[in-house]
Amino acid sequence: MSGYLALVLHAHLPFVRHPEHERFLEENWLFEAITETYIPLIQVMDGWLREGMETRLTLTLTPTLCSMLLDPLLQERYASYLHGLIELAEKETHRTHWDDALRPLAEMYLQRFLLVRETYFAYGSNLVGAFRKFQEQGKLEIITCAATHALLPLLENHPESLRAQILVARDHYRSCFGCDPRGIWLPECAYVEGVEQVLQEANIRWFVTDTHGVLHARPRPRYGIFAPIFTPNGIAAFGRDLDSAKQVWSRHEGYPGDPRYRDFYRDIAFDLDYDYIKPYLPAPPQRSFTGIKYHRISGPAVEKEIYNPAEAQQTAADHAEHFLRSRVQQIDEAARIMDRPPVVLSPYDAELFGHWWYEGPQFIDYLIRKAYYDQQTFRLITPHEYLKMHPTQQVARPASSSWGEEGYWKVWLNETNEWIYRHLAIAQERMTQLARRFTVVDGLIERALKQAAREILLAQASDWPFILRTGTSPEYACKRVKDHLLRFIALHEQLTSTQVDERWLTQIEAIDNIFPDVNYRYWA
């Protein structure tokens, strides 16, 4: 063995749960990700387990995602979503009866959805428990993230908020997985000096930065990104490998853009008769994805071609082989130069695999199998395991950085979303004042303080400024920030000037029900 490969997937969705509406379009973010990414990943990992393979994978399950996966209302809604999907797929097998090109695809979807349902119910609708099983068997390292995926460098001005984001996440992880997290995914890989103080308090041992977060560290890291560095207070920072990132993301070499893969956009929701498709649309009359797509990305042809699953599967296998050989070559080369085994850390958004890149889970399956069976150059490893084997590392201060556009925080702080931070700054200070003022409380006051903490956390999510920047659902993102801030303002006023309105509090507790045991004293 010359070195190691640590594959890290970051699974995250913002907290979207609207019991006040019967159907809510944005809840489909979760439902689509469960169907296309999380369950296929579980199925693939179950396969490795059955075969007794010694595999290693690292996965972030963010506190917001875990909360949604464990929420009974969303579980019930997902089951109903899945039922609808299966019904539609079944209808599609009939509809395409005389269409030889589409019928096998309709049947493929039906089989896949049935399998998804089987897996979902086999795990008792508890996907957090499913992933926990792999961790307990030593095949998976589950790491945490900031409580609501707040961009931590933009909380630098308010260390109490930064601390609360980490400690609330640590507590939530304990409640989900029965142990402490060893690693953390800093939201958007965004690091700023000071984060490590809180990580130390939470006994978190490692995090990931983008490549330049390690390369630009002070002093210059001897091994580049082929070894982690220790911050002066002893937290390991692993730098993202640029070569493996490029192979998946580059426009020239990037795998997901291959014309043989399934097209993300060409969904039957846009092709078929409205009356037929309407019962399966999440928010009619708007046509939005059903998840059944019959076309491949195709080349420059005017008309998109019909998807060929066998061809796409072979392409995924070829791409996995290419990725593997590139890592073998890279690790061999680095090992020849270095005086210790290099480690290559390749992190990706989990939802890339399956949701966006339909064949992504197959790619991961092939890659892990090939890495296990077909090569001797590197070993799959998790960062925690690596640190146990290699506890001696260079000490350096990582550079502030993120993996967003241009490498810093421009995506989350620009003309489209800066207004959020002006309001957050005031609300955060007020939260600290509340936590310092109400040291010993119980009953209604404690409930109001906890709810205030929840509202602040939800308003801090990096998803909202991101969506405002990209323009995918800006009205929704804007409304979410405002709702949480306004609820906080009302709670602050009730706690400091008037009195807590129990009826109203009960209503918002039922809506924003994340982190039932949140410790508001973390803000003190």
Partner: protein, 435 residues
């Protein structure tokens, strides 16, 4: 991939005041994104309209188009074309956020190695009062290096109504403090507030190539390690220094020999070559959403090829329409090049009913009956001749009925007619909208 530059650029102040060294103004940022989200009513057409022909209501029942405008983002947040969600209304309408809170706090945050974001919490009245006292009629943001003492690093004159500014500082790895204030008529500086300091990220490799190692055993918690060295640990002595000083790291895990510092210039150069950060490789990509941009770029390239091919065949005049309109990777409009288009398709609906507990098969495949015993199935009907046997068997299995349906479709096309409904409003996202 080139990174897009959309940061506000500094420009020369237009104020009557003579320019001072280091004084710049920066572009005012827009009003809060959430402040103005009202729908703009559609413009009424000025052309007189002929009365619409009367259409039987039945023909209007199906295939209603979506009400919202479409675009084509691709991301974990994508729900198909631009999602317009049901507005979230709180249990009680809490109105809108206040414009400000009047705390006079100044916030500064380094956004990247060269830009700071500065905002201040002043009410409308406070702003008006300060502007009235200012010789310029507006406020000034001073940027200080390290500490707010002495001459500022730069000054920015801001718009009288603004509550924030993106300020170009142009210095990476530097600590800055922002100060808000104004000049009185006598030229004296009047400070309103100071921000906490903020540090611009470094943007290059460190010149410091010194190497020190530390050993942090994973099995020992930080709390235990801190307990071991608490006597020497202080604000100026980090945990790893304290461990080293107390020689605890050697006790726990002796330094491996290969980490003792034998590292040649050749090794350093060879490794640097493997992970260089040159501009060509500086592709800040990671978020799922960026693939959208990549795919869009790929699409532009492939459609350029398509444009050339079609032009060769005389089917498409290059230059008349941009190449990006030839095909869409998003299942979107293919018709733009010709202006007019037509898609037509045919489906067949077979429906019926029987006893609710009967077993029914259509086309040899068992189907589910509704609770009232009815059923309805659609069939895509391409050109050709088809047979569709339908069979119902009673629950007891002692009776059955059968129908053999026969169909034929033959289509004659004149001109370019498509077969699928392709929503022409599906469009590629604007690159600016992709992180």
């Amino acid at each position: 991939m080139k990174s897009k530059k959309s940061s506000p650029k500094p420009k020369i102040a237009t104020s009557d005041e003579p320019q001072k060294a280091g004084i710049t103004t920066a572009k005012k940022t827009s009003t809060p994104a959430g402040a103005n989200l009202k729908n703009v009513p559609a413009k009424a057409s000025s052309k007189p309209r002929r009365p619409a022909p009367k259409i039987p209501p039945a023909l209007l029942e199906s295939d209603q188009p979506a009400q919202t405008s479409l675009s084509g983002p691709g991301s974990r947040y994508a729900l198909g074309p631009k999602a317009a969600s049901v507005p979230v209304s709180g249990p009680i309408d809490l109105g809108d956020l206040p414009e400000s809170y009047g705390t006079q706090q100044v916030l500064a945050a380094a956004r990247d190695p060269h830009w700071l974001y500065v905002s201040w919490d002043l009410s409308k009245e406070q702003l008006r009062a300060y502007n009235a006292k200012s010789v310029h009629g507006h406020l000034v943001v001073r940027i200080h290096l390290h500490q707010p003492h002495g001459a500022p690093h730069s000054e920015v004159h801001v718009h009288p109504e603004s509550r924030n500014w993106f300020v170009y500082v142009g210095r990476a790895a530097t600590r800055f403090v922002a100060e808000l204030g104004f000049y009185r008529p006598e030229g004296k500086w009047n400070s309103i507030g100071l921000s906490k300091s903020t540090f611009t990220p470094p943007d290059n490799l460190s010149e410091d190539t010194s190497v020190e190692f530390a050993t942090l055993p994973g099995g020992v918690s930080f709390q235990e390690l801190i307990g071991m060295v608490k006597e020497v640990l202080s604000e100026n002595v980090s945990l790893v220094e304290a461990l080293r000083e107390q020689q605890i790291d050697n006790e726990i895990h002796p330094l491996p020999k290969d980490s003792s510092g034998h590292w040649t210039v050749e090794q350093a150069a060879a490794l640097e070559k493997m992970v260089s950060m040159d501009s060509m490789r500086r592709v800040w990509i990671g978020s799922l959403e960026i693939t959208e941009l990549i795919r869009r770029k790929m699409f532009e390239e492939t459609s350029s090829i398509a444009a050339a091919e079609l032009a060769k065949r005389g089917q498409f005049a290059v230059g008349a329409v941009g190449p990006s309109s030839i095909t869409s990777p998003f299942g979107g409009a293919v018709e733009k090049g010709k202006g007019f288009w037509f898609n037509v398709n045919a489906e067949l609906i077979v429906y019926g009913s029987t006893e609710p507990d009967a077993a029914v098969s259509v086309g040899g495949r068992a189907i589910k009956l509704r609770p009232d015993g009815s059923f309805s199935y659609r069939f895509s009907l391409p050109d050709g001749n088809y047979e569709l046997p339908a069979l119902a068997i009673s629950a007891a299995g002692d009776d059955q009925r059968q129908a053999r349906l026969q169909f034929s479709r033959r289509t004659e096309y004149r001109g370019d007619v498509g077969t699928h409904r392709q929503d022409k409003r599906l469009k590629t996202p604007h690159p600016n909208n992709v992180a």
